[in-house]
Amino acid sequence: MKFQLKSILLLFIMIYGSSCEKKEDPIIPHEEELITTLKYTLTSADSSVVKEFIFKDVDGDGGDEPVITIDTLDAHIAYTGRITLLNESESPAEDITVEVEEEGAEHQLFFISSGADMEITYLDVDENGNSLGLETLVLTDSISEGTLNIVLRHQPKKPNDGSLSDAGGSTDISVDFDVFIR
């Protein structure tokens, strides 16, 4: 029984020692991959007109509703479109566009328009000569309205036929904007 008592004592010392350490406050992780904001900036040929479509969801997966702002587009105009991706949960905001550009071969943006009378084509390519989509050409035609779905795919099949189902990959961004052409 003496052996028993000694071992119990030893056990308690070990446990007490390990359990009495105060647990430190956790380090809040720096959320590097969080994209909170997508801006689709359309500039007219003479740079006089700038239209913006913005999708901003600052709390990521949280319950706060995203804020979507749109501009109406003019009919029969050619715009140069530029995509900007930001992490605005940080201050100053982190520019994610650079990362996507550097890993161009592993990304592709898709622009799916339905209803509105406009055509969107790729202007840029990645290091392998395949479309990327950070720079696009938007040609609006007659007065109409519809929706525009912008999707960023990570590791899609490249080259592909320009459709989401052929490209595959994982969806990093998928946002919908109402489009009004006046």
Partner: protein
């Protein structure tokens, strides 16, 4: 005459005493009933063997003085190898333990008998050796009432009578497995090869293992150390054709002078699995496990036991299942072949994948003040490390998206005694202290927060047998303090410190009656409160796996559950026995993940599910039969069904197993001198389509009925030194294309096709 002369000459040549006799009786370990015509063999004495008579008696004479291993075999029982030092003629009683499928059995664990009228099934070591290359839960699937919740081929969790995860206890070598077992895609990190047998407890009174065990418990029971002073060991290799996988397990054991020890190690290397029509790309698995067991008896009254194990796995998750928002999900569901399916086989494991390790240390001393009084103190230390890797941008795929370390220290103290008038008592206390930490290097908001959990529990169990009655009762009280360091969901992110305290208790009682030698009835009743787990309180974020954002609720209350199990065991004739278990499980404040609709995020729309409480009701029936029309031919079968209902919301509970039937027929060949345990077996499994589901909660209709055929064959070959086992096991012999409702990958791909397993084992 010639034979006699030869024997005489042999004796004279040997020059030793060779007229000893070994006689005795072979009986069932539990009820001491005779095992008629059991085979008795002396391993080192070629030709010295016997067959017991109808009363279990045997007699082998003309044995030389020496040390031997007596090997006993009887169909339906665990084979035994007992060391005997034959320095004079001896008469001994040998006990064999009945194994498997059909049992309301009291398992014998070393010195002590199990404490209750629990409904109890045992998966024995023969089956573990044959099927050890499977995931732990998959080995248990043949037990009635057990289903498997899968996330693809590499991850399986046991479901016992409709409940799983936080509602069942997994006990690893007497320690409650302390790991992130709340996740539907988190499998228990245990190597089945470390077990002597695995018990599935479905009754109500596993109160010793905490209030979680009201739902059920899986006990991974360690080897019982024997007294054999010789070095014994085995090497077991299993190759599976589907995945071109190799699993190798090696064991060594000896009852040496300084201590009895046993070491077991397992390596697993499996590549992409194959559905009948295509590869399941990125479904490889790796495992490296090692366990060591030590036991030393000091002065007849003390036993010191030590056990240390390490389990390390790397599991690939189907690439085509890595789908995110609801639009992509709908697209993936519609596909013939999953996204990212390769035409070629590969062993490589890429993200998405899970890397988990579990290290365990157990130190125990037992003091036997007499044969009936045992005092046990046990220390347990567990370290669980879980890293989940996702496909990430900017070379971050090698940094886990989820990285958790859970360190647990525990102390168990219990006292087991039997009074002179045969009252069994067991009292005990358990203290479990857990520290959970997230690795901030992930760069991802943690799915569950850092916490410190302090649990203290006390239990007492009483059991009594008299005449043909059996009664037991138990009570348990637990106190838990949970200190959480949550991170706020809104920006700027801050630490929010919360303290929860829970007081829960449980009661159980059972009564059983052996009406006659043929019929036994048991009733178990149990009541238990279950405190909410960390994920139910604090989950936040997208959990790798199905595209769902999960959110906890820190204001949840403990659940209140009542379970009743009525069990009958009936030997209708010498050839036919039936066992049936009917259960009813009512859970108030049942905590579950309720889909709330979709949430719009920058990645698209995601299903959001929140932890809610409701009143739930489960009921089910497990029916098992065994028919032995002829000594060598056995048919057995199981028919399980369970129903789960959410009373408050008037709808079905999600993930309820559908009805299923399994029928096996086995033919055992007569053993010869060199060949033993030869058998051929056909298995048939029919799983019905799950028709009880809520259309709004299911993104895809449950899959249709399916039928699977399996074949098995095996043979034991005895040589002078040791013996070989050759085994063949074919799963899904018809290469059936099917999907299973309980596999979370059913949205994306079919189940694996035909799998041919070859087993080669050498033991000495």
């Amino acid at each position: 005459m010639t034979i006699l002369l030869l024997n005489l000459m042999h004796l004279m040549a040997e020059g030793q005493v060779c007229n000893l006799t070994l006689s005795g009786k072979v009986v069932d370990a539990r009820d001491q009933s005779a095992l008629s015509y059991a085979a008795v063999m002396i391993a080192e004495a070629e030709g010295k063997s016997g067959v017991a008579d109808s009363l279990g008696h045997f007699r082998i004479s003309g044995i030389c003085k020496g040390k031997y291993h007596i090997e006993l075999r009887y169909v339906g029982y665990e084979p035994a190898s007992v060391f005997v030092d034959l320095n004079k003629s001896k008469s001994l009683t040998f006990e064999l333990i009945r194994h498997q499928e059909l049992l309301n059995e009291v398992a014998v664990h070393g010195e002590q008998e199990e404490m209750s009228s629990l409904v109890h099934n045992v998966v024995g070591k023969l089956k573990i050796n044959r099927e050890g290359n499977k995931n732990l839960a998959n080995i248990l699937e043949s037990v009635s009432g057990v289903s498997v919740l899968k996330t693809g081929t590499g991850i399986s969790k046991p479901i016992i009578q409709g409940v799983y995860g936080n509602r069942i206890a997994i006990v690893n070598n007497d320690l409650i497995q302390s790991a992130q077992l709340w996740g539907n895609d988190h499998a228990p990190e245990i190597d089945p090869f470390v077990a002597n047998h695995i018990s599935v407890i479905k009754g109500t009174a596993a109160i010793e293992y905490g209030t979680k065990a009201l739902g059920g418990a899986v006990l991974i029971d360690p080897y019982i150390m024997n007294n054999d002073p010789h070095l014994h060991g085995s090497v077991n290799y299993i190759f599976e054709s589907n995945g071109l996988g190799s699993t190798i397990n090696a064991k060594l054991e000896q009852a040496a002078n300084w201590a009895s020890w046993r070491v077991t190690g397992t390596l697993k290397y499996i590549g992409d699995r194959h559905a009948p029509d295509y590869f399941l790309t990125n479904t490889g698995q790796r495992e490296q496990n090692l366990a060591m067991q030590l036991e030393k008896r000091i002065k007849k009254k003390w036993i010191i036991k030590g056990y240390a194990s390490t389990f390390n796995s790397n599991t690939g998750i189907l690439l085509g299942g890595h789908v995110q928002n609801t639009t992509d999900l709908e697209e993936a569901i519609g596909r013939e072949i999953p996204f990212n399916t390769s035409d070629e086989f590969s062993y490589s494991i890429e993200p998405p994948r899970q890397e988990v390790s579990h290290h365990l240390l157990k130190l125990e001393t037992q003091y036997l003040s007499d044969a009936n009084k045992i005092f046990t103190i046990r220390y347990g230390g567990q370290i669980n490390n879980r890293n989940e890797y996702d496909i990430r941008r900017n070379n971050r795929s090698e940094i886990p998206a989820l990285s958790l370390t859970l360190v647990t220290n525990s102390i168990d103290v219990n006292y087991h005694t039997v009074t002179p008038n045969n009252n069994h008592f067991k009292f005990g206390g358990q203290w479990y202290y857990s520290n959970n930490t997230n690795n901030p290097e992930t760069g991802v908001f943690p799915l569950i927060p850092d916490y410190l959990s302090n649990k203290l529990g006390f239990f007492s169990i009483w059991k009594k047998e008299w005449d043909n009655w059996f009664v037991d009762a138990g009570a348990r009280y637990d106190y838990q303090s949970l200190e959480v360091w949550a991170i706020t969901k809104s920006f700027p992110r801050e630490i929010e410190n919360n303290l929860h305290q829970f007081n829960t208790f449980a009661l159980s009682g059972g009564v059983g009656n052996e009406l006659n030698k043929k019929l036994q009835l048991d009733l178990n009743l149990g009541y238990a409160q279950r405190a909410p787990e960390i994920n139910e309180l604090y989950s936040f974020g997208l959990h790798q796996g199905i595209s769902q954002i999960e959110e906890g609720d820190k204001n949840l209350h403990p659940e209140d559950a009542f379970k009743a199990v009525f069990h009958l065991s009936w030997k209708l004739s010498p050839k036919l026995s039936v066992e049936n278990s009917t259960y009813f499980h009512n859970i108030n404040n049942y905590i579950f993940l309720e889909p709330q609709g979709v949430r719009l995020t920058i990645r698209g729309a995601y299903i959001v599910a929140q932890y809610k409480q409701t009143d739930a009701q489960l009921a089910g029936n497990d029916l098992a039969f065994e028919y032995t029309p002829h000594k060598s031919l056995v048919f057995n079968g199981v028919y399980s069904l369970v129903r789960g209902y959410d009373r408050s919301n008037d709808q079905y509970l999600i993930y309820m197993p559908s009805d299923n039937i399994q029928v096996n027929s086995q033919y055992n060949f007569k053993p010869t001198k060199a060949f033993e345990n030869s058998f051929v077996k056909v298995t048939a499994r029919y799983v019905f389509k799950q028709t009880r589901y809520n259309a709004e909660q299911e993104i895809l209709e449950p899959p249709s009925d399916y039928f699977l055929l399996g074949l098995e064959a095996g043979i034991d070959i005895h040589r002078n030194k040791g013996h070989w086992v050759l085994g063949l096991r074919v799963e899904n012999a018809l290469n059936q294309t099917y999907r299973d409702y309980l596999n979370r990958m059913r949205y994306f791909s079919d189940e694996p096709g035909i799998n041919i397993n070859f087993q080669l084992q050498y033991s000495f």
